[in-house]
């Protein structure tokens, strides 16, 4: 390719920098969002996997007991019986003063050797301190460096055992290494686990497990498994390590797929922007193309020079986008990690490290997208032999022809999408494929619908010359107006879809909380919500609580992880209020509701939550083998109820059923108190608090409103990242419509100059341009409503059900829909301000001289 040809082509960058900047912004934002979400996802994923792996260590099996743990004497018996490859563990979540949730792993440092890697790679010096100094704890590798603390610090930890001051030791310093120079296989990785390792005795105090263990890790040969299982007492179970954490892993993955889909949507919208500006870049230079062709430059060279420019834009945009993406990922990763912590497992991520593979993938994506967007304009440019051939007229005629073909393709895609939904093919990924088929179909249908809408509108304003010019001009620039409108429609539809999903979800959760919280007051362990699972209160408090509060009814509930034939499952054992089933949001039952309470108390029967039924593919009448008091028994599923408290799903069992043949659970997770009608709740709270202080147990009294507030705060945190992505998507769409309107008006500059020379005032020109922006905005907003509602429905009925097993009532958030419509129209009007200002101020004579 001739250097002069290249120069002739690229010098346009200096003449029209704004167009190039807009194209670059499209690539930059598209690449940045995809990379940021990918990095945040990967970092959280690694932190999660690492936490799970480090908790399990090199163990092949674990001995597990009830939620309140089991007697530590069993560990001694086990070793004495010859099982020496064993390590006792006490574990649970806790909270730092700054609110961060951490995971405390209490180990016997002397037995740990063969089990854990980086997390408990604690070296000789710390071992001595951990064992000899109570209240010492090793934060994860890198914590001291990140927090800026010296080698030793003191903190108050809040956990199941209440508040305790602990001494934090820097494991690197204790080994005479420099600060943060941890040994091990990448322990200094900034997305290391949030495991805080301590001696088992300290953990027992922190987590309220004095004299008890949560589990024993074992390394067993295949032939040893059966022998040990047979030797265990009834309340203990031997489980293979790989069965733990599977459900949480799958759920965390579903959450990440949701985020990735959102980021791809942002990229798709950026693709429209890139396509639009690339087409414009070629059209603006049709004279250059014609002149080059006339002096003998071949079609291939023209094709090549356009693609080369796209390559340059792609490379520059991708490099800048990658830099922005890494910065954005720092913001996102904190939110992703918080969500994983809220719902699945405590992880801590202090930063992101771009992996070469992720960078390479996003590089290919950004550059590939730029090249793909330039292919059509490059082909147009190469095909043309004269200025007339490269003009808009030819392109627009072809665009109008394409619109019909695209509409045909759209109908095929829409039918394919509907087919996938109806047949339920492909589960979660299938749901997303169906979603993208529907989006693609809808978007491909838009040019045709837009063309007919504009024709109809032009007919409506026949005789009103200026509006007619505005509308007809849009229709005649379909190759420009359709992609811009599609970009805006897509962004607005995504906003509506997410609003429908989040609104429906939020509404359902609020309703569920209202139904589930049937007590007037709750007494719970004084631990953070995410750390409450393992904390227990004495069963014997019931009488005291009634005496202090005057409660007419006291319920209790305890969640524990138990072994079942479906792996480890969360079991919620309740001693409910008499009328509890009236309030439980039952979806279906195997027996009449009036008989359900008696069956649940008298028989081996349970209820399961909707997510549990979905994840474990169980239904009414199925039987679950569960570890209850006295050992494993088969329980019949008598009902499925709605629950948003645990995405992994929960089995609900009455205390009467649990305790049949054995003792009730050791300790209570929470008490619910119903006060007499007209009782003063404030007084009851005061008396209870005074009484609790005397009990010297860390417990607190909460009201349903507090729990609702806390739950909704977690809910809102979960969706904060979705809102952020929604805003980014709208920004990209705004830039797309701005670029399209600028292009549209610049192409029509000669027309505007003619109108001005005929006597149209500058204000009239501004009005025309703003009217065009308004028409596109209103069309995009109206088109976004059905697409957005469809996306919302699909997210609720297919994707969330497949991903999380959550069902929810569809609520149409008309206020948000209205806001989004106004936002779309407003964005389009705002985007038309700059081109309107430019057109009204342009010099007429040069514009009149432009080649038509």
């Amino acid at each position: 390719m001739s250097g002069l040809v290249l120069r002739a082509w690229l010098r346009d960058w200096r003449r029209r920098p704004l167009q190039r900047v807009l194209t670059l912004i499209g690539v930059i934002i598209g690449v940045a969002v995809v990379l940021a979400v990918d990095l945040a996802n990967q970092s959280a994923q690694r932190a999660f996997d690492r936490s799970m792996d480090e908790v399990a260590g090199a163990a092949t099996h674990q001995v597990l007991g009830p939620a309140s743990g089991f007697d530590e004497a069993f560990y001694r018996d086990l070793r004495m019986a010859g099982w020496r490859d064993a390590a006792p563990i006490v574990e649970g979540p806790a909270r730092l003063p700054d609110g961060a949730t951490i995971y405390v792993l209490g180990v016997d440092p002397l037995a740990e050797g063969p089990f854990r890697g980086a997390a408990s790679d604690i070296g000789d010096a710390p071992v001595q301190r951990l064992v000899t100094e109570p209240g010492t704890i090793l934060p994860p590798a890198g914590w001291f460096r990140a927090s800026g603390e010296a080698h030793e610090a003191r903190r108050v930890l809040e956990a199941a055992g209440g508040e305790h001051e602990v001494t934090l030791i820097d494991r690197a310093a204790e080994r005479d290494e420099g600060p943060g120079e941890e040994a091990g296989d990448g322990a200094a990785d900034d997305m290391g686990a949030s495991l805080w390792v301590t001696d088992i005795a300290t953990a027992q105090v922190l987590l309220d497990r004095l004299g008890r263990l949560d589990r024993i890790d074992l390394r067993l040969a295949d032939n040893e498994v059966e022998a040990l299982a047979a030797a265990l007492p009834a309340e203990l179970e031997l489980v293979a390590v790989e069965s733990r954490g599977q459900a949480a892993r799958q759920l965390a993955q579903a959450f990440r797929i949701n985020l990735t889909a959102m980021s791809l949507l942002a990229l798709l919208i950026a693709a429209f922007l890139i396509y639009n500006t690339q087409t414009f870049a070629v059209l603006r230079r049709r004279e250059v193309i014609a002149s080059l062709r006339l002096v003998g430059v071949g079609r291939r060279a023209i094709f090549g020079v356009v693609l080369l420019e796209a390559l340059l834009v792609g490379v520059i945009g991708t490099v800048l986008g990658a830099l922005l993406g890494v910065a954005l990922a720092q913001v996102l990763v904190a939110q992703v990690a918080q969500t994983v912590t809220d719902h699945f497992f405590a992880v801590a991520v202090t930063g992101v490290t771009p992996r070469p593979l992720a960078l390479a993938a996003v590089f290919l994506l950004g550059v590939g997208l730029s090249l793909a967007a330039a292919l059509a304009p490059a082909w147009e440019a190469a095909r043309a032999a004269s200025p007339a051939g490269t003009g808009r007229g030819g392109l627009e005629r072809r665009a109008r022809g394409w619109a019909a073909w695209l509409a045909l393709a759209a109908i095929i895609l829409l039918l394919a999408g509907v087919g996938m939904i109806v047949t339920g093919a492909g589960a979660l990924v299938g749901g997303f494929v169906a979603l993208f088929l529907l989006i693609a179909g809808f978007v491909l249908l838009l040019p045709w619908v837009l063309a007919w809408t504009l024709r109809g509108l032009a007919a409506l304003v026949r005789g009103v010359t200026l509006p007619r010019i505005a509308v007809r001009s849009l229709e005649r620039s379909l190759s420009r107006s359709a992609p811009a409108t599609s970009a805006l429609t897509l962004a607005l539809a995504a906003a509506i879809g997410v609003a429908v999903m989040v609104g429906s979800f939020r509404g359902s959760v609020e309703q569920w909380l209202g139904q589930a919280l049937t007590s007037d007051l709750y007494v719970v362990p004084a631990a953070p919500a995410s750390a409450r699972g393992g904390a227990r209160l004495p069963e014997g408090w019931t009488a005291g609580l009634v005496a202090q509060s005057g409660a007419v009814s006291v319920s209790s509930g305890t969640t524990q992880e138990v072994v079942s034939d479906r792996g480890l499952v969360d079991l919620y054992v309740v001693r409910p209020h008499g009328d509890w089933l009236q309030y439980l949001p039952l979806l279906e039952t195997a027996v009449p509701r009036e008989a359900l309470g008696a069956r649940l108390a008298a028989d081996d029967a349970v209820l399961v939550t909707e997510p549990f039924a979905a994840h474990h593919d169980v239904g009414l009448g199925d039987r679950l083998s569960l570890a209850a008091a006295g050992g494993r028994r088969a329980f019949e599923i008598l009902g499925i109820y709605r629950d948003y408290g645990n995405p992994q799903g929960t089995v609900l069992m009455t205390q009467a059923a649990f305790a049949r043949g054995g003792a009730p659970p050791d300790g209570v997770g929470s008490f619910g108190l119903r006060l007499p009608e007209g009782a003063d709740a404030e007084q009851a709270v005061e008396r209870l608090e005074a009484w609790l202080a005397e009990q010297q147990r860390a417990a607190l009294v909460t009201r349903p409103g507090d729990i609702e507030q806390e739950s909704m705060a977690i809910f809102d945190r979960t969706f904060a990242i979705t809102h952020l992505l929604r805003v980014i998507t709208l920004v990209v769409a705004f830039i797309a419509i701005l670029g399209a309107l600028i292009a549209l008006q610049m192409e029509r500059a000669r027309e505007f100059a003619t109108l001005r020379s005929l006597g149209l005032l500058p204000g009239g020109v501004r009005g025309l341009v703003v009217l065009q922006g308004g028409v596109l905005g209103v069309f995009a907003a109206l088109a976004a409503i059905p697409l957005g509602l469809g996306m919302g429905w699909l997210l609720i009925e297919v994707i969330n059900r497949e991903a999380f097993g959550w069902g929810m009532d569809l609520r149409l958030p008309w206020v948000e829909v209205g806001e989004t419509v106004l936002l779309g129209v407003g964005a389009a009007l705002l985007a038309s301000v700059i081109p309107a200002w430019r057109m009204a101020r342009m010099r007429l004579v040069p514009a009149l001289r432009e080649v038509p």
């Binding site: 005789g463 010359t465 005649r476 109108l755 020379s757 005929l758 005032l761 500058p762």
Partner: protein, 257 residues
């Protein structure tokens, strides 16, 4: 030198333009340039102090080579560009005293322009193109506008093509539409910039004849820029633009410029 300008002290641009468009008492030159000079940004001066007057009903041609400044003179006359020095008076109003909006209002009331490359609005039908100046410059209602535009189209021989779009017409037909559009609101002055430049000689001849016929019929003044001395010779007066200076052509010597 007296400018003959009708000044309206204390009026804003809108009021001035309205007064101008309403006024029918003005009897001085339709167009008057006094020492008008102009340079495009970053370039040398194109017009060097041009003095020129166009009487009501007078038809004047300006000939000259490419780049001599003929079209620029037309742009100054239409108020599309503002003179750097000197004065330009349109229908008695000094353009220098008007802001952009007032200049536009004056132009749409008093001037009709015929361009070399037609400049029809592609998104409007032929009839709508002709209706446009009526909509911008008059209070006529839609029915009146339609009726007047239809009449004007018939006058240029395109009465049956009002519903077509410009792209469906030949070059000659498009220029007929442009002439109809320039005349439909009965301006005082028609400015024609190479109106036959994009047409073959035979069509050009026809279009030129039509333009003259229509101008005569309406009684307005005509200032026409052309390369063709032959066509120019058919007007009342021919001036030659040479290097930005307006000179009396030999053929019409004796007639004051």
């Amino acid at each position: 030198m007296s400018t003959g300008t009708t000044q309206h002290p204390g009026l804003n641009g809108q009021q001035k333009a309205d007064r101008m468009s309403e006024s029918s008492s003005f009897s001085g030159p339709v167009l008057r340039l006094i020492g008008a000079a102009f340079a495009y940004p970053g370039e040398g001066e194109v017009l060097h102090g041009v003095d020129f007057e166009l009487a009501p009903g007078e038809r004047v041609a300006i000939v000259g080579e490419s780049g001599s400044g003929k079209s620029t003179l037309l742009h100054l006359a239409a108020g599309l560009e503002a003179a750097d020095r000197g004065e330009v008076h349109l229908a008695g109003e000094a353009l220098a005293g008007l802001d952009e909006a007032a200049r536009t209002r004056l132009r749409r009331a008093k001037v009709g322009i015929v361009f070399q490359s037609f400049h029809l609005i592609p998104t409007l039908t032929v009839l709508e193109n002709v209706m446009l100046p009526l909509e911008l410059a008059t209070d006529a209602n839609a029915a009146e506008r339609r009726e007047r535009a239809g009449r004007q189209l018939t006058a240029v021989g395109l009465g049956d093509k009002g519903d077509r779009y410009p792209e469906a017409l030949s070059g000659g037909e498009q220029q007929r539409v442009a002439i109809a559009r320039a005349l439909v609101h009965q301006p005082a002055l028609i400015l024609a910039d190479e109106p036959t430049g994009n047409l073959d000689s035979r069509t050009g001849e026809t279009i030129f004849g039509l333009l003259l016929e229509q101008v005569r019929a309406t009684g307005c003044s005509l200032l026409l820029v052309t390369h063709s001395h032959e066509l120019a010779g058919r007007l009342d007066r021919v001036l030659t633009m040479r290097d930005g200076v307006l000179q009396l052509s030999e053929a019409t010597e004796g007639v004051p410029a």
